[in-house]
Symmetry: none
Subunit: 358 residues, 2 copies
DNA sequence: AGTCTCATCTTGTACGTACAAATTATTGGC
DNA sequence: GCCAATAATTTGTACGTACAAGATGAGACT
């Protein structure tokens, strides 16, 4: 931690502990520099920040003084903001339940908003939250593979000292803590499972406007390459949020009607897997007899279908709980910003939607 | 005027005149220093202030960039609180999505918390929200059939001029607006449907710690009485939140194993209906051949099962949207507190889980 | 075409020096 | 004891030097 930040923490301790009273004169810049064996300029940088934040006031030639505390009638409940892409019944309720429960048990409240996976709405959300007294943020990135035009607002969060963490993925140019699934190893495991079952003609469908999809695809391709399996033109179907209702379904129908059709599908998530079960049904194919299908996330969909899906797990509630705990640790200064990420290893859950060709 | 302030004025001229566009890279610190014949440290002081003020953002090793202008004037976001019983993947995400979308499009944010259907936690939630600057509340009552020990806090809301509405049910002693389903007519319609199909031995299962269940039971009984059907000892099974995993299932098993067993079940909701499909399966009975089953709420469960459920609808997202709109009308004084409730008439959706005996 | 290494560029941290500007303390004269 | 002048103290401005850390681009290699 930079020296000017360490000094800041120390001075904040003086202020918060009551050791320095309002309007009391602080030690001079020279004295503080000598006390901590640092340069006067470094001290000035620290004092400058505390002044900007309203904790101190400085008078040229006179000294540096402690500001009066803001008068507060009672201890306000502190609020944590959560930005999600969708409020859906997929896996979102589990994550939010985990977070809300963890926050409530520690006296925090939760503000929830969604971006509908749209960068402009993400911007509006961030601006809205910057205008509120939120203590920290848990953010699910919006189309994480499509850059970050709202980087200025994320940097604003840092400037305003609003800690935030990210879940499911993180914008590459940000360095906040992140909780996510090892998507590449999940993609690999799904493909490997099918290869082990004897499948050689495997098609993958990935929503690549977010990094999760991009990483799952990466793992998928790596598994095929390691087993010297050919990458045909249709082996990978890319789609985006906007085309998720049409592109993968149509592509699946098309390839299933070919003479040399795939014997297995690796899907970006359970939602798509269920939808492609329907595509198989429509072309007269039976799952898993004629076509094996895998999903991701182990959502309620994976066991709601007639054919229970083979899928990769997602931590869900635990991610929500640990996200809240990690953010509160950041807020309360118990960890440094560069705290280690939490990366969940997805576990392959083998159910009834995959079958051996051997 | 200090050089760092002169430079700041100059740069603000660049920004305000449109000469520098959002996300455009500024000249480097070195270049600015050369341009103005001042030191790099002086430049850094200026850029640091502009960063704190949100006009620029800086990336180590990359450059200094112009921030996006705020998309709307600095406007404090007002917060609406929502108290739900559970954050689950049942129908809750639909309601919340409707509410959050409606609020966000009107410049409000949403704070979410849950009571886990527990009166003590309801109290904690209310106290927490009373300590926050929320503008209004949308509340799902907790065990609405078991009185209201937290009435004092609801009166506090009124004293503090915090408008609130209720969804799904309302505590009888409160007079806030309410959005709900006509549960009694739903219970009646489910029973009537089965009677019309020729069923005469119908069992009902109702969670009666909330008024929804109590009202559904009321309709169920009214339908049987109107058709002179006998009310046997087992015709009605009551259960509560705490016993929902055991009492109805065990009761169903017990009655299905009797000689004179029921030929139809009316269930409190889809969640129970799905569970009792399993009870039928366990006693070797086929749905709907041997046993007809109905649910409530038309949740994702109703079509996820192998046998698609006959069920009654719940407005879900529309309830969330209209709840938000109604509350904002209250807040903005466009309606009086005793505004009319919104009562949805449930629609019977006939699917595959009910069969005629005729 | 992709990857790796290395040089260069750019911001970030830290320190030292020098002087300006405002305030306070000391000293000498009356 | 009071007052003016001066010195000392303290914050403010400015600059220079050095190195760290992150990003980028060129070139070599596969």
């Amino acid at each position: 931690m930079p020296k000017y930040m360490q000094l800041k923490q120390e001075i904040l301790t003086w202020l918060d502990s009551g050791r320095m009273k309002p309007n009391e004169r602080m030690p001079t810049e020279h004295e503080i520099a000598a006390l901590f064996q640092i340069s006067r300029q470094t001290v000035r940088q620290t004092l400058g920040e505390l002044e900007k934040e309203g904790r101190l006031y400085r008078l040229q030639g006179k000294g540096t003084f402690v500001s009066q505390p803001k008068t507060r009638p009672f201890q306000e409940t502190q609020t944590i903001g959560m930005i999600t892409t969708y409020i859906s019944d997929y896996i979102f309720p589990h994550i939010v339940r985990g977070t809300e429960g963890a926050l409530r048990s520690r006296g925090y409240s939760l503000t929830l908003s969604s971006t509908d996976n749209d960068k402009n709405k993400e911007r509006e959300n961030l601006e809205s939250l910057l205008a509120q007294p939120v203590r920290g943020l848990i953010i699910e990135p919006t189309k994480s593979a499509q850059g970050n035009p709202n980087l200025d607002l994320y940097l604003s969060l840092q400037v305003h000292d609003i800690p935030f963490i990210m879940i499911n993925e993180r914008y590459p140019e940000l360095h906040c803590p992140c909780l996510k699934v090892d998507d590449e190893s999940g993609g690999y495991a799904a493909a490997k499972h099918l290869i082990d079952l004897g499948h050689r003609n495997i098609a993958g469908f990935f929503k690549t406007d977010d990094l999760q999809g991009a990483n799952r695809l990466k793992g998928f391709i790596r598994a095929l390459r390691e087993h010297q399996l050919p990458l045909q033109q249709y082996t990978v179907t890319h789609y985006t949020t906007e085309t998720k209702s049409t592109v993968p379904y149509d592509a699946a129908l098309s390839m299933l009607r070919q003479q040399e059709r795939p014997t297995a599908f690796v899907c970006y998530n359970d939602e798509l897997a269920v939808r492609l079960l329907e595509a198989a049904r429509q072309t007269g194919l039976s799952v898993p007899d004629d076509l094996s299908v895998t999903g991701f996330d182990d959502s309620w969909l994976s066991t709601a279908t007639e054919v229970k899906l083979t899928t990769l797990t997602h931590p869900k509630t635990d991610m929500g709980v640990r996200a809240a705990e990690l953010l509160l640790d950041l807020i309360q200064g118990r960890v440094e910003d560069a705290a280690k990420d939490i990366v969940y290893a997805p576990e392959l859950i083998i159910r009834d939607s995959t079958r051996s060709l051997l």
